[in-house]
């Protein structure tokens, strides 16, 4: 084992190995990865391997797009088959709101450069003959995506990293991480490694790794189950006839994904009531761990799946996987520099880890080596969280983020769990005045005031909502009279030092006011 290296990556899941691969690919060959057990033995090995390009976040969408592209070329580069089945992915819409979501998403996809097609129910039936399309409004299809074998993907990335000089130490447990004058020392049970940078990619152990350097990383995993059936004669018949796989099917309104697996089907629902797990971290011996299955809480989604694909109910259940997936309060990962610690990087909280690993590793390598990322990473920025994320808050919010995976992503959505958390002294008075609240950084702030007999309640939509007239009045009043804002959601930045004035003058549209200028 090396005693000195430029970077130490902590954690050998697909996320950590991808970070190592991208550092090496960008020319930093003196990099190492430390894994406490075997590669993939945390959550990677039991992931269903889906590569969904669909994501409402610009940052996450970019990471996914890059990954799907990279994974398609890995075999050529490393000689290792990654089991990439580019079978496409169809998302169904059962109602108009859902179609609205897809229309809005198509805009995001176009900006990112992801191919999306709109399908009629008949076109869905053509691709997925086992799907009941009678009550569908429409669907979208991503021709480029599909699924992959997560363990094979990790091994291919590991090979790519090793071929460029990176080293991987398995069965090596990190016991401490100390900051030094020039960087960091990562202490393991097999010796210490001095390094310039540390990347935390420890998945279910994120909070334990964070604790070693005094960071409270807001990641707590949630249980996710998927059901694997035995082969179905219809699917086996299709295979025999040489017909293509029907692809990944997602019924957003029934909240599940489904795909073919060895002649049978896989169903993965995102249900209500899935509990947070590993709240105080997994046990030190934990590896390749699964939890007891609980089909009862999946019941409505199973019924929905049998309605949509009757074949799914016609064969036996071979296995139910119930394993941990990392979550953050908003469901997006945390990728970037740690707050307050130089050269400590966070790559944690991946709930779509197989898809996001490629892009997250790519951007971290750009950031670490070149000093800045090459895409807008605001959506996965670590500093969007703060000390308001207590353990009990995380449990509630992460469970909510899990159950919201397929809930319609309205642009003005405010999720209800763990609220109100922080309130201003005038909270009750504003509430009595009709305030409908939203949450920013844990604080409750009025989004609008219900007026003219309007119900004091959110009204989310992709179209013009009822708050429009209320906000119209507010704007008019602030323009013509006076308004009072108790708390702004905008951050304040202090910019000082040599050239600060010139920098700001270039940054803002107006000319800066004179120094000591008073209004």
């Amino acid at each position: 084992m090396k005693s000195k290296s430029k970077v130490v990556v902590v954690g050998g899941g697909v996320v950590g190995v991808s970070a190592l691969y991208h550092l090496a690919k960008k020319g930093w060959s003196d990099v190492v990865l430390v894994e406490r057990k075997e590669l993939t033995s945390g959550s990677t090995w039991h992931a269903a391997g889906l590569l969904p390009l669909f994501n409402m976040s610009y940052s996450v969408g970019q990471l996914h797009k890059y990954a799907v592209n990279l994974y398609g070329k890995l075999e050529e580069e490393t000689g290792k088959n990654v089991g990439f089945s580019r079978v496409s992915n169809i998302r169904l819409a059962n109602n108009k709101d859902r179609m609205d979501e897809y229309f809005q998403y198509a805009g995001v996809a176009q900006t990112i450069g992801v191919d999306v097609k709109f399908l009629t129910p008949d076109q869905v039936k053509e691709i997925w003959p086992l799907c009941n399309t009678s009550d569908l409004v429409g669907a979208i299809q991503h021709p480029e995506d599909g699924y992959i074998q997560p363990a094979d993907l990790t091994q291919a990335l590991a090979t790519g990293a090793r071929n460029r000089g990176a080293e991987i130490y398995r069965n090596t447990t990190v016991v401490g991480i100390k900051q030094t004058k020039n960087g960091w020392v990562v202490e393991t049970d097999k010796g210490s490694i001095e390094c310039e940078h540390v990347i935390s990619c420890s998945g279910n152990f994120a909070r334990q790794t964070g604790k070693m350097v005094g960071l409270d990383i807001p990641v707590i995993p949630v249980e996710h189950q998927y059901i694997v059936t035995e082969p179905h004669p219809e699917i086996q018949k299709r295979k025999k006839e040489g017909l293509p796989e029907m692809g990944v099917l997602r019924d957003s309104d029934s909240r599940w994904y489904m795909r073919e697996e060895a002649g049978g089907l896989i169903l993965g629902p995102y249900e209500d009531g899935a509990p947070a797990c590993y709240v105080n971290g997994p046990s030190k011996e934990s590896e390749y761990e699964l939890f007891q299955e609980d089909l009862d809480r999946l019941a409505p989604h199973i019924e929905g799946a049998i309605h949509r694909v009757p074949a799914f109910g016609e064969v036996g259940v071979k296995k139910v996987y119930n394993g941990a997936i990392c979550y953050t309060p908003d469901g997006n990962p945390i990728v970037g520099p740690a707050w307050g610690l130089k050269n400590f990087w966070i790559n944690e909280g991946h709930s779509f880890g197989i898809t996001a690993a490629g892009g997250a590793g790519w951007q971290l390598a750009e950031w670490i080596i070149d000093g800045e990322p090459t895409i807008d990473m605001l959506g996965v920025e670590p500093r969007r969280y703060g000390d308001y994320c207590s353990k009990s808050y995380l449990i509630k919010k992460n469970e909510e983020a899990y159950s919201h995976v397929f809930i319609n992503h309205f642009p003005d959505e405010e999720r209800p769990a763990a609220r109100p958390l922080r309130t201003a002294p005038c909270y009750d008075r504003m509430k009595n005045l009709g305030a409908v609240f939203g949450q920013k950084f844990g604080w409750e702030r009025p989004n609008f005031f219900a007026t003219d007999g309007m119900e004091q309640k959110d009204d989310w939509s992709f179209r013009r909502s009822k708050w429009f007239s209320a906000i119209e009045k507010e704007c008019k009043n602030v323009r013509e009279n006076v308004g009072l804002l108790d708390m702004t959601a905008f951050a304040k930045c202090r910019i000082k030092g040599l050239g600060a004035e010139a920098f700001l003058d270039k940054l803002v549209a107006n000319k800066l006011p004179k120094k000591n200028w008073k209004n």
Binding site: I227, T229, C277, L290, Q292, G313
Partner: protein, 249 residues
């Protein structure tokens, strides 16, 4: 004909079992549990006999804490008609299990009692034999083939020397080997329907059975860790090492 099948909830065979730090047992909290694998063969065989028209009813029974009911529900999902759960907390030794089963046999009057040849958690391989003894019924253990005749069973047994075929009169106890059949998987609609099948709940104390442990467990330890192997460069080096170091040739 009525068949009673005993099923046990054990740590799933895929789980790497861990010993508790204080050596009092193995870790079962948050560990995936499932039906003892040869018990699945027992249920499958009973359901197959029922499907062939030779049996009228299959009753699944389990003994254990509240969660043991999941094991009965699974049996109901693959075709058992009704279930019995005898509630006992903690470890129940084979003698107590067979005494409870005897009470249930007296109540239910089955023609056959099936169960797995042994449970993969304690590996006792005693319950079937003890039950046969206290009921004074014939027994056929390690069954890999069962043929139902007029008033008897022809059972092929897996024994050290190969296969042994015996005939036992009904009523009889049969313990099942993994080679007996290939257990079916329950479909989701059947798993849902199983929730509505009758499941009778009893307490061991109501049956008048003392489940107190007769065996004192002193300590549970991990098996010694295997040492890493070495690579030898040639056959002659291997022979030399086997002779001088391992001293096996």
């Amino acid at each position: 004909m009525k068949i009673l099948v005993a099923v046990k909830r054990v740590i799933d065979y895929n789980v790497q079992v861990r010993v508790k730090d204080d050596g009092t047992g193995v870790v079962t909290d948050n560990v995936k549990m499932s039906t003892n694998p040869p018990d699945d063969n027992a249920i499958e065989e009973a359901v197959k006999i029922k499907e062939s028209g030779k049996a009228k009813e299959v009753v699944a029974i389990t003994i254990g804490d509240d969660k043991a009911q999941e094991t009965v529900r699974k049996a109901l999902a693959v075709g058992a008609d009704r279930g019995i759960h005898v509630k006992v907390d903690g470890i129940v030794e084979p003698l107590a299990v067979s005494k409870i089963l005897k009470k249930i046999v007296e109540k239910e009057n089955p023609d056959l009692v099936f169960m797995g040849k042994q449970a993969i958690d304690d590996d006792c391989n005693q319950t079937g034999q003890m039950l046969a003894a206290i009921l004074n019924w014939p027994q056929a253990t390690f069954a890999s083939k069962i043929e139902v005749k007029e008033k008897s069973l022809e059972v092929t047994r897996e024994i050290d020397e190969g296969l042994e075929t015996i005939e036992v009169n009904i009523p009889a106890i049969v313990t099942c080997d993994l080679r007996l059949n290939e257990p079916r998987y329950a479909s989701l609609p059947n798993i849902m329907k199983a929730k509505k099948k009758p499941l009778e709940q009893l307490n061991a104390s109501d049956l008048g059975v003392d489940t107190k442990a007769r065996i004192e467990q002193i300590k549970v330890e991990e098996p010694p860790k295997r040492k890493a192997g070495i690579k030898v460069a040639s056959v002659s080096e291997l022979v030399q090492k086997l002779k001088n170091e391992a001293k096996v040739i």
